[in-house]
Amino acid sequence: MFNYTFHWRPALNALPQMLQGALVTLQIAVLSMVIGIAVGVVLSVFSSSRNKLLYGIYATWVEVARNTPALFQIYMAYFGLGQLGIRLDSFLALLVGITFNNAGYLAETFRGGLRAVPQTQTRAARSLGFNAYEAFTLIVLPQMFRAVFHPMTNQMVWAILMTSLGVVVGLNSDLTGVTQDLNVRTFRTFEYFAIAAVLYYLIAKVVTLGARLIAWRLFRY
């Protein structure tokens, strides 16, 4: 009933290649997270804007990002934009797709986080002579980030795992791409993907631990 013989040695020999891929994966995840946080903060500010256009941008972005499959979002970045004459390579298309998705989720998280910071904090800051931007960046944002730190870490892990979708737009340099190449060459599907899974797990763990360390350093109050 079961006559598959495991061949771990050749699979493990490919480890350096796979680690190289893991590095690319991490790179995409970090980039999409950094840009996603920046865009998410801007969107969350738009969410309480009285300007209809700004609110519209926020609402549309969040609705689309959260209610359509991430896979389609990456497809749209690669094939959709390509149809419009904007040709992104698979690395960039994946980055754009995931960042779009990330920013949508993060915007909603941040919106909640901003509500957790009392209005009176802004008042106190403004009364000291800070302008609206300073009051927001110096007083409100740091407190918001503390409130949303754990959901933000979850989103980071989610972003790492989502990078594996790059394979659908032909990305072959990230962990999934490298693994897939090895797979089609050798058909040792189980071995390679098991190793890849372990590597994804380790990356996610390292990021979570790193985040905890940052939180411990940053939020001592």
Binding site: R123, A124, R126, S127, G129, F130, I139, F219
Partner: protein, 241 residues
């Protein structure tokens, strides 16, 4: 000099200030007393432009607060305000709470801002708390920190909005001591307060607020000792018994 002329202010259909006029001269301490919801705190928020007004005008050293071209951020530098709920910045240490505005708003160097903050914090008796976070302080200590934070901007006017109302009774004294010191140093102050004894002691004038108006105003001796209007008498009877 703060000149409040016929100020009107509504929250929706609710009229909170209904033609308030009051002039506060340099070096003067004016207390505002009155029941809850009579518009006292709102008036303070209007003076530094945190709240818009619908009628009348407020002048601070001749600058009209609510005029279109007024640089409120600049104007607020000379008006310190301390709130009922102290509003410490929880993510900053006590020292950082006090140095942030001098550094970012007044563009002072870190050393200069530190020196100012240390002096102000020692002034209010928090010389040993520089590195603590506000969450580790008592309400009275946080409120004194808030006073130091406002003073670090070297304001010309200080507004106090029921600063002892949210404190445990045994912590009220230390905050009042700090304010007493300020009054003695000649700071121009407007305080909204429920501490009648304190108002009587430090004020040059006391104003009784009722239904969005200054109902009666006079020296502490006059207002507390010989109130002219029946509503003032009724209020004082109810709080002083």
């Amino acid at each position: 000099m703060i000149e409040i002329e016929n100020v009107e202010k509504s929250f929706g259909a609710l009229k909170v200030l209904d033609g308030v006029s009051l002039t506060v001269n340099k070096g003067e301490v004016v207390s505002i007393i009155g029941g809850s919801g009579s518009g006292k705190s709102t008036l303070l928020m209007c003076i530094n432009g945190l709240e818009p007004i619908q009628g009348g005008r407020i002048l601070v050293d001749g600058t009209e607060v609510h005029a279109r071209g007024t640089d409120l951020n600049r104007l607020r530098r000379k008006i310190g305000i301390v709130f009922q709920q102290w509003n410490a910045f929880p993510h900053l240490t006590v020292l950082e709470n006090v140095t942030l505005a001098p550094r970012k708003v007044l563009k002072k160097s870190r050393e200069e801002a530190d020196a100012i903050a240390r002096r102000q914090l020692e002034h209010v008796g928090l010389g040993d708390k520089f590195g603590s976070f506000p969450g580790k302080l008592s309400g009275g200590q946080q409120q004194r920190m808030a006073i130091a934070r406002a003073l670090a901007m070297a304001p010309e006017y200080m507004l106090f909005d029921e600063v002892t109302s949210a404190l445990d009774p045994q912590l009220v004294g230390e905050v009042l001591d700090t304010m007493r010191l300020l009054a003695r140093e000649g700071m121009t102050m407007i305080l909204v307060t429920h501490e009648m004894g304190f108002a009587r002691e430090v004020s040059d004038r006391v104003a009784f607020f009722k239904s969005g108006k200054i109902h009666e105003i006079g020296s502490p001796e006059q207002l507390f000792g010989n109130p002219q209007l029946p509503d003032t008498r009724a209020f004082l009877n109810s709080v002083l018994k």
